[in-house]
Structure formats: C-alpha cells, structure tokens
Amino acid sequence: MKNTIVSQVKDKAIWIVFIILFIAFAFANKRFVSPSNLFTIARQVSMYGIAAVGMTFVILIGGIDLAAGSIITVVNVVCAYLMVEMQFSMVAAVLTSLILAAAIGALNGFLVAKIAMPAIIATFATQIIFEGAAYLLSGGTPVYGFDERFKIIGQGYVGPVPVPVIIMALCFALGAFILNKTYFGRYFYAVGGNEEASKLSGIRVKGIKFLIYTLSGLFAGLAGIVMLSRTNSAQPTAGKGFEFDVITCVVLGGVSVSGGFGKISNVIAGVLIIGILTNGMVLMNVSSYTQMVVKGLVLIFAVGFDSLQNSGVLTKA
C-alpha cells in the first residue's frame, strides 16, 4: 500500500514542481497570473509541445533527435518559398512542407535503424546538412508576404483559445492515444526497455525505429508551420537550438533518457514548466543569458534525478 502511494507521488512529482513554480511566479509578479499572460504562455509553448510529442517517442526508445530544430527551419523556409515564390496554395504548401519534414525524419530513421548509426551522430549530421540547405534556399534573407489566412494557424483564436494551443492539445491527445491504445505504441515501450528481447518477441525493431524518427520529423514540421504562421516571415535561423528546449521539456517530463519509461501526461507538465520559467523570467527582467544558465541547470536536475534512480541510489532504503 505504502509503496503504491510513494510511486503515485513520484509519478506526479513533476506536476507538483509545476504548481510550486506557478505559485512562486504568481507571488513574484502579479501580471503573471493575468488570463492574457497565461494564454500567452500557452501560445508560446505550443510549438515546443507539438515537437515534444515526436521527441517523446524518440527518447522513449533510448534515442535522440537533434535534427528537430533544423527541420523547423527547413519547413519555415520551404513553406514560405512555395507560397511566395512558387505561388502554391496555402494548403498545398503546408502539406508539401510536412511531407518534406517527415522525409527528413525518415532519413534519420534510415541512418539510425538500417545503417545502425548512433542517433546522436546521425541526427547531428542531418541537423547541420538541413540548416545549411535552408540557408542556401533562402539566400540568407527572410521570406515574407503570405496570404492573410495563413496567420490563423499561429495567431488565430477559437473563442478565447488560441489556435496553436488547440493544435498542441490535439497533438498531445494523439500522442497519448498512440502510446496507450495502439499496438505500435506498446512496441515503443518494449523496444525502449529491451531491444533484444523485443526482437525475440517478434517486433521488427528496425521498422519501429524508422517509424519513430519519421513521426518525430513530422511533429517538428508541424511545429515549424505554427512558428512560420506566428512570426509571419521565414527566418533562415528560425529553429536554431529549438531541439534543446524540446529535449529539456521531454526529459523534465520524466521520459527516461535510457528508454522504456515515460508518459505524455507528464511531458505536458515538462512543457508547461519550461513555458512558465521562460515567461516568468522575462517578466522579472532576467537576461536571456541568465535564462540559459537556469535552463541548463534544470536539465541537469531532470536528467540527474533520472540517472540516480537508474543507478538505484534513490530506491535503496
């Protein structure tokens, strides 16, 4: 009995951290809790939340996707290029960009699953390649001048709720659905827990890895579309460093970096914590460099906790 209570609390610990932080910022700055600021936070984190769903899958199998940021850049530049230079319709441009994002993810999947490259190197290499490619395509200058309706994705509202927040919520729901209800979601946990035993249980491990990196590319691509719509112009450095914030969100959300454990519900908390930390610090006029220091420390604490748990230090009485 006692054990289940302890594990329940441990399971929800990240939400407790969120609540404490929330209260602390609320006391520190009154503006923080105003409805408009809360929606701003939700809108700000939406891109991270969307990409975090794919990254959760990747980290769940013990992998990593460093290309997420450059996929966002590519999607920004390409989607803008298609709409402005090629006169593509909005829908066609978005779909083409998403397919491209998934294709880059699939390339990562191919390198990791079929070629058996370490994920950290494979996705690091594609990150550099596509960052460069996006720059070459854009010529280094921002692309802008989109259809007015394109703004809806990133800036629109349904009632009081921003559209990107709705997209994020749908992505979280889809992620949770995949992990809890579909058979390949179960395979993700199995492969993350023990590749060899998974293979011997009849799971096509390479196929699962390929699928996961492709999905990660797709979710990053969607985040890229939201970003493009929000900023209304394609920057050739739009997604630089984005992957690190996403990884922080996921790891903070309790997804084990060694694979096999993790829940979307807790990743939501991870995303929100990064959101209120950033927003709260901005409201308190903390410089962006100090923010970096804080975020790095948060990452160390999150992974450190996970590592300590794995090594059994925390479970020993």
């Binding site: 058979y183 179960r186 946990y189 199995a190 023990n194 035993a197 011997l200 249980s201 096509r204």
Partner: protein, 513 residues
C-alpha cells in the same frame, strides 16, 4: 566495516612445500546454491594439472577463487606456503598466479608490446618509451618461441596469437601458476599445437599450469595429473599415465539418477515430421541433420559452447544459415527474422530469461500480447478486452502466481517469469517450441511445474526441442537425444539407450578442427 579480506601467515608445515598452490576445503555458497563443496587440490611445481568436469561442475568458480573474482565462503588458498582466506586480483598477481580467461584481457587498439606492458609501461620522463618496450617485448616473445612483431596491433592478431600475448604477459609478470580456462576452444588445430609447445616449454621452466578443457584427448596428451569435479564436489585425482578415458567419463557423470520426472502419455505421431534439418550450417554449426516429430521432445545435449543455442537461433531466424535446409511441416522455410519464424509457428524460450526472454519493465499482460498485438488490434487500436482475457486465460492455465496481470514481470519469481514467456508463445499459437535451458536458476518446485507444462504441451500436440546442460533433466524429459560437439552432430540416442557416459563421450568428442 568488513574485516580484512584475507589473512596471511607463514606456514610451519614443511611437508607440503613441494606444492606451489594448494586449495584447501574450498566451499562457495550462493543464496540457494552450493557451487563448491569442500574442494581441495594441490599443484606441484612444474606440472600440468588438468581440471575436468561436466557443465556446472564448478571448474570456473574454483579457479575464480584463485584470482579473487570469487570469494570463497570457507576454505584456504595456500600459495608457496602463504595462507589466504581469499584472494584479490592484486594479491594473486603479487603471488604469481595468472589466469587466461576465454575472454582476453587485452586492448585491441594497442600494439602487442604495449599490451605486454599494460598498466605498467616503461617511461622516459613523462612519455612512454615505445622503443624500449618493443625491445623487451621481443625478448619476452623469443623466450616462449612466439613469432609476433611487437609493433602489430593486438586487434590485427589471430585469436591464437592474442592468446600467446596473454601468456607472455603473465610470464613477464613472473607468474608461477598459470591457469587456463578452455584455452584450446577458440583455436585452430595448428594453433593448438603451438599452444601445447608453449605449455611444454613453460613446464620445463618450472611454471605450473592448471589446464581446463573438455577435450579429453588433449588432457591425455598434455597433463601430468587430472582432478575431476562433479556437481561442485571434488571426486578424484588421477595420474594421467595410469588412467583411461572410460574411467574419466565414469567419474565425471557417475551420479545416481535420483530425481523423478512427471509421467507423460505417449503422444508422438511417428509419421508427422514437424521440423527437419537437412545438412543445416550456419552460426558456427556444420551439417546438422535431424527430424523432429509431432508430440516429441527432442533433447539437444552437449557442453557449453557446443553450438546448441546457436542452432536454435538459426531455426528461429535470429541468425543466418549458410547452407542446408530447414523444412517445417513439409515446406522449406527461410526465416530471416524472429517475426517470420513466429508467424510460421516457431517459438524460442531463450536461455537468458532476463535479457532475452521477458520484457522485465512491462506488465505480464503486455508481455503475453507482444507477439499477437497486430492480431488483436483493429486499425492499430488494441482490443483491450481480448488482451485482458488472453492474459487471464494463461494466468489460470499455467498457474502464474501474481496478484494481477498488470504486475511488471520483474516482480515475478524466475519460474513465473518463465511461465509468462511460455504464455506468450501459446497465445501466438506456436507449434514448435524451442526451450533453451528452461529451468536454469529456477527452484526445485517450480522446475517440476515447468516439466509438467512441457508434458502438457506435447500431449496437446506441440513439438519441443529441449536444450539442456543438466544431464538428468535432458535424460528425464527427452524422448530422444541428439548430442552436439563444437558445432557438429556427434551422436543420437533413443530413450531406451540413454546413458550418461555415452552422452558425455559424444559431447567431448573432437570433430574436425
């Protein structure tokens, strides 16, 4: 916190000083298992002492007490008159004991010379003196008549030469007792000859050797005396010249068959061949041919490393075949992955339950459903009622002891974990089930339950290939036994002619080379 790991005192007894190493009354108890029971042996200066015994006789555990890798529960280790209650790796080295394990202790990216001086390089100021080390290495190799260029990277050497570097390292560190664990196993016959020459040379130099091997003719060629272990106990010491193969085999396996095995109805369908291997080669095995009939338990005997697990991997699609045919239910099959084998109706209960068998961090329910998820899903969505019903059904049928099917498998006992793995294959409708050491690390009561399950399986029309290193289990559970040695089939026995000695003789046969 803990008392000093060893004690040391000078011995007064002069009588035994002809021995360089004595193990006295060594006992090692692991929770639930007595690995060594009051084992004593002595090694004379300049002799080659062979240590033999079946799988699990305790040879490896015994030599590990000499290196400090295993701390004996009781007993003494006496080296040159100095007494120790246990060793540490440093103490062993200081006292001239060196072990050559099957897995070499080398760094493949460094040269032979650098490996020789690993951890203790010759330095010139702050930098290592490669020239001096290479010169010294050349001398060390020449002493043993080994022809190796000291500059060659160890990773580029053949296994035989890597082993020689290991031996040279031991001798350079002034080893007086060299212990070798199955040194000839990975070698070609030419390399074995070189190894023997080195052993003879070392013997002439006064170095003592403890030689562990299952190849009995090597032991007759090389050793002066033979110590036989069986089931963790000392059996006898023989003078090699005065002993005979039959006597050795008798001593190695000569236990009374005491355990009883559950009765099984006759259920073999003689004319229904489920699995046929026709000159199958691959994964270290050569030209294996056998037939397995419906309802039969075919035992696969042999020593550790004989290639039994490797054969199972080829049939299960997790290792490649290089020649021959696998015929399953009359059709030739080419399983290229476990998934394909599973879909055909072949299942494997692997040897290493925790690493390869069960997904420990996942629930019983999920483990059982793993191979059949696709079947019980509609548009990728799992039918959770079917999943729960299936898991509950097998929980009941196989008597899996657990409060809930949502329990993680890591929380179950070994026997119950094995049942979950079996449930998974029953759910997948497997026809042929390969058991690789199904009762390893499982307590006696649970063992009997597994045996009863195996009987129930064949009685219900399943077919079983049983790999077991436990002679009694193999003989007690099989309808027929096929023995492998070093990747070759060396014999076949029908139930009425099962005989421990015959199996042992087949298992220690040397084929080809």
């Amino acid at each position: 916190m803990v008392a000093a790991p060893y004690f040391e005192k000078t011995r007064v007894l002069k009588m035994n000083e002809e021995y360089v190493l004595e193990l006295q009354h060594i006992t090692k108890i692991y929770p639930g298992v007595v690995a060594l029971k009051d084992v004593s042996l002595e090694v004379k200066k300049g002799e080659i002492l062979a240590l033999i015994g079946e799988n699990g006789a305790g040879k490896s555990t015994l030599i590990k007490t000499c290196s400090g890798a295993v701390i004996p529960t009781s007993g003494k280790i006496v080296v040159n008159g100095k007494e120790f209650s246990s060793m540490t790796p440093q103490l062993a080295a200081e006292n001239g004991i060196a072990i050559i394990y099957q897995e070499f202790n080398n760094v493949k990216g460094l040269s032979a010379a650098e490996n020789l001086f690993l951890g203790n390089p010759i330095k010139k100021g702050f930098v290592i003196d490669k020239k001096a080390m290479e010169k010294e290495a050349e001398k060390a190799f020449a002493q043993l008549n080994i022809k190796i260029n000291p500059k060659t990277l160890v990773g580029d050497l053949t296994v035989g030469y890597q082993q020689m570097v290991e031996i040279a390292k031991a001798i350079k560190q002034d080893a007086k007792v060299l212990i070798m664990d199955e040194p000839s196993a990975p070698l070609t016959s030419a390399e074995v000859e070189s190894l023997f020459k080195i052993c003879e040379l070392l013997k002439a130099k006064g170095v003592s050797i403890i030689y562990i091997s299952h190849r009995l003719e090597e032991i007759f060629r090389l050793s002066d005396r033979i110590v036989v272990l069986r089931d963790g106990q000392y059996i006898k010491t023989l003078t090699t010249k005065e002993s005979h193969v039959d006597e050795l085999i008798h001593l190695m396996v000569g236990r009374d068959l005491t355990e009883s095995y559950p009765e099984r109805k006759k259920c073999i369908k003689e004319d229904e061949v489920v699995l046929e291997l026709d000159n199958l080669s691959g994964n270290g095995n050569h030209d294996i041919s056998l037939k397995l009939r419906k309802g039969e338990v075919l035992g696969l005997g042999g020593l550790v490393g004989a290639g039994r697990t490797e054969l199972a991997q080829v049939i299960f699609g997790s290792a490649e075949k290089t020649g021959g045919k696998i015929i399953f239910n009359g059709k030739e099959i080419h399983p290229r992955s476990p998934r394909e084998a599973i879909d055909l109706g072949i299942a494997l209960v692997p040897e290493d339950r925790k690493r390869h068998g069960a997904l420990l961090d996942i629930s019983i329910k999920n483990n059982i459903s793993m191979p059949i998820y696709k079947r019980i899903s509609k548009a990728s969505v799992i039918n959770s009622k079917t999943e729960v019903d299936t898991a509950n059904k097998y929980k009941k049928e196989l008597l899996i002891k657990t409060p809930s099917i949502n329990q993680d498998v890591k929380n179950l006992s070994g026997g119950n974990q094995q049942k979950v793995i079996l449930a998974k294959w029953l759910a997948a409708n497997s026809e042929l089930i390969i058991f690789d050491e199904p009762t390893r690390g499982i307590d006696v009561g649970a063992k009997f339950e597994i045996y009863k399950l195996i009987n129930a399986l064949v009685e219900s029309g399943k077919t079983i290939l049983l790999i077991s290193s436990e002679m009694e289990e193999l003989m007690g559970m099989s309808d027929r036994i096929i023995v492998l040695a070093e990747g070759h089939m060396t014999g076949e026995l029908k139930k009425d002619s099962f005989d421990q000695k015959a199996i042992m003789r087949m298992a220690s046969a040397v084929v080809g080379g």
